[in-house]
C-alpha cells in the first residue's frame, strides 16, 4: 500500500474511532489541501456511531427502558468509544455489551439488575439466530441444541413476561435459573424459569432415561412424567422422536 493511502486510512481511523469536532479538525490538519465541506465528512462519523447505537437499541429494548434515556445515551456513547464492532454482522456488536454494563453498574448508578437483564436480552437474540439446527427427526429424547441456561440473581423471566405491568419497579431479587431456547418450528425464542419438571425432562434427555426408569427411581407417577415430556416437547425445550 502506498504511504499516501496508509496516511489516509490512519487519519480516517483516528477520526472514526472518536467522531467529534476535535477529531474532525485533526483529520483536516492531516490533509491540508482537502476542501470537502466538514459537514459532509462528519456524516460518516455520525453514521458509524449510529450503527452501533441502532443495533444496541434493537437488541436491548428492556434495558434501555429500565435505565432511562439519559443513562442509556451515555452508556451507548461510551461503549461505542471502545470500538466494539469487530464482526461483519452488525448485531454481534451486542455480544460484549452485557460485560460493559456489568462494569458500569456502580460507577453509573445503574439498577443492580441491569447486567442480568442485558445478559438475558443478548441471550434472547443469540438463541433466536443460533446456527445450531434441530435435527429432524430425532431417534431419542434430545435437548434442544439452541438451549442456553442463565444463572442470575434476579427473577428476570417473570419480569420480562409481565413487562409493561409494573415494569418500573424492576425484577425482584432472587436466584433464578433461566432457560432460553428456539422453538424448532416457530423459530422464535422461548424462555422460562427452570422448574423441577423442566429440569427432570432435560435430565432424561441428556442421560437417555425413560419415563418408567424415572418413575421407578423417584416414585413419581409415570403418567405425570410423560405429560411433562409431551408438554415440553410441544414447547420445544426437548425434541421427541415421532410417535
Amino acid at each position: 500500500m502506498k504511504p499516501s493511502l496508509k496516511h489516509f486510512f490512519d487519519s480516517m481511523g483516528s477520526y472514526l474511532a472518536r467522531p467529534g469536532g476535535e477529531s474532525l479538525e485533526r483529520l483536516y490538519t492531516a490533509h491540508p489541501e482537502w476542501r470537502a465541506p466538514s459537514s459532509r465528512v462528519s456524516i460518516y462519523g455520525d453514521f458509524v456511531r449510529g450503527h452501533v447505537r441502532t443495533a444496541l437499541e434493537k437488541l436491548f429494548p428492556l434495558l434501555r427502558g429500565a435505565v432511562g434515556a439519559e443513562a442509556w445515551l451515555a452508556l451507548v456513547e461510551d461503549f461505542t468509544l471502545t470500538r466494539p464492532a469487530r464482526h461483519h454482522e452488525v448485531n454481534r456488536v451486542g455480544e460484549g455489551f452485557p460485560a460493559f454494563v456489568a462494569d458500569a453498574v456502580s460507577s453509573r448508578g445503574l439498577p443492580p439488575y441491569a447486567p442480568a437483564l442485558a445478559r438475558f436480552e443478548w441471550s434472547d437474540f443469540a438463541v433466536f439466530v443460533s446456527q445450531a439446527e434441530a435435527p429432524a427427526p430425532v431417534e431419542r429424547l434430545t435437548p434442544n441444541p439452541t438451549l442456553v441456561v442463565l444463572e442470575q440473581p434476579f427473577r428476570i423471566c417473570a419480569w420480562v413476561r409481565a413487562r409493561g405491568q409494573g415494569a418500573a419497579r424492576g425484577p425482584e431479587a432472587g436466584d433464578e435459573l433461566a432457560l432460553l431456547w428456539r422453538h424448532p418450528e416457530r423459530l422464535v425464542t422461548y424462555y422460562q424459569e427452570a422448574t423441577p419438571a423442566a429440569l427432570l425432562v432435560l435430565k432424561m434427555a441428556v442421560e437417555g432415561l425413560s419415563a418408567s426408569d424415572v418413575a421407578t427411581a423417584t416414585g413419581m407417577p409415570e403418567a405425570d412424567i410423560l405429560e411433562s415430556v409431551a408438554r415440553l416437547s410441544r414447547e420445544g425445550l426437548v425434541l421427541a422422536p415421532l410417535a
Partner: protein, 283 residues
C-alpha cells in the same frame, strides 16, 4: 447500445427484476404469488445467523435465483481480506448457486474493526493499485463472476487525482470484474457534487454493467442521503431508462432498506422496473 461483453463472456443473461430478502419479508416472500424474477440477499445476514433467516433463504432459493450483495467485503480497506468472511461468502455463493455476486467499491473496516458503513475511497491511482489485486483474490477464491457497485459518497476524499468515472473504469477494467450500476447512487452523487448524471453514465464502462440498483433517497436542505427508504423518484426512473437505452436489458434490483413498506409496495416498484425493461427491449 453497448454489447454487455462482461456478461456475455461469463454466460450471464439478464434475470429480470428482483427485490431484497429483508427480515420483514421472511414469511411472506417465499409464498408470494406476485411476479418476481430473482432475490437479492445481504450475505452478512446469512453467514452467521441461523433460524428464520436460513429457512427463508432456503425457501427463496427453491423458487428464484439468489444473488448475494455484500456490505462487508471491505474490498478497498487497509486490512487483509477477512479470511472467515471470504470463506463463508464462497460457501454461501456455492450453496445458493448464485450466477454472480457483488459488493461495493469502498472500505468498511479499519484496524480489524467493522464500521458497518460503506466508506468512500479517494479517487487515486494508489487506490486502484490497492484494490485490483484484492478483487482478483476474491474472484479466485469464490470462483464466480464478481461485480463492484459504484457507491454513494457525500464528500470527495482527500488527494483525489482521477474523476469518479475514470476511477471506476480503472478498477473494473484492471481487475476484470463487472459493474453493478446503482442508478440512484449516480443521481445522488450527481446532485450532491454538482455534475451531470447522464454525462457521468456516458463515461462509464457500460459494457461491464451486469446489474442495476434502483432505490429511493432522502433530500435534506444541503445534501441528499442514499437512504433506500422511499420509492424510486421520477428523475431516477428517467436515468434508468437512459442507462437501459445504452446497455440493453440488465438484471435490476429494487432496494428498500429503511422504513420498509409492505412487500406489495416493493413489488409494485419492481413491476415498474419490469415495465421499463420491457419498454427498453421493445425499442
Amino acid at each position: 447500445m453497448v454489447a454487455t461483453t462482461y456478461a456475455r463472456r461469463h454466460g450471464l443473461s439478464p434475470l429480470g427484476v428482483g427485490i431484497g430478502l429483508r427480515r420483514s419479508f421472511y414469511e411472506e416472500l417465499p409464498r408470494t404469488q406476485r411476479t418476481l424474477d430473482w432475490v437479492e440477499i445481504i450475505p452478512e445476514n446469512f453467514l452467521s445467523l441461523g433460524g428464520r433467516s436460513q429457512r427463508a433463504l432456503d425457501a427463496c432459493a427453491e423458487r428464484w435465483p439468489v444473488l448475494p450483495h455484500g456490505v462487508g467485503l471491505d474490498i478497498g480497506g487497509p486490512d487483509a481480506l477477512d479470511e472467515d468472511y471470504v470463506t463463508g461468502l464462497a460457501a454461501l455463493v456455492k450453496r445458493v448457486d448464485a450466477p454472480f455476486f457483488s459488493d461495493h467499491l469502498c472500505y468498511s473496516r479499519l484496524g480489524g474493526v467493522y464500521l458497518h458503513d460503506l466508506l468512500p475511497l479517494p479517487f487515486t491511482e494508489a487506490v486502484v493499485e490497492h484494490v485490483v489485486p484484492r478483487v482478483r483474490e476474491v474472484v479466485a477464491r469464490v470462483g464466480r463472476p464478481f461485480l463492484l457497485e459504484n457507491p454513494s459518497y457525500y464528500a470527495n476524499m482527500p488527494g483525489g487525482t482521477l474523476s469518479e468515472a475514470d476511477f471506476l473504469r480503472h478498477v473494473v477494467e484492471e481487475a476484470d470484474c463487472g459493474l453493478l450500476l446503482d442508478v440512484n447512487n449516480v443521481y445522488v452523487n450527481a446532485r450532491n457534487h454538482g455534475y451531470d448524471a447522464r454525462s457521468f453514465v456516458d463515461a462509464l464502462p457500460l459494457e461491464r454493467v451486469v446489474q442495476i440498483h434502483l432505490a429511493g433517497h432522502t433530500t435534506y436542505p444541503d445534501v441528499i442521503i442514499d437512504t433506500h427508504g422511499d420509492r424510486v423518484c421520477d428523475d431516477v426512473w428517467s436515468l434508468y431508462r437512459y442507462v437501459l437505452a445504452r446497455t440493453g436489458p440488465v438484471s435490476t434490483l429494487i432496494e428498500w432498506d429503511q422504513d420498509i413498506p409492505s412487500m406489495a409496495a416493493v413489488l409494485d416498484e419492481a413491476d415498474l422496473a419490469r415495465a421499463a425493461l420491457r419498454e427498453g427491449a421493445g425499442r
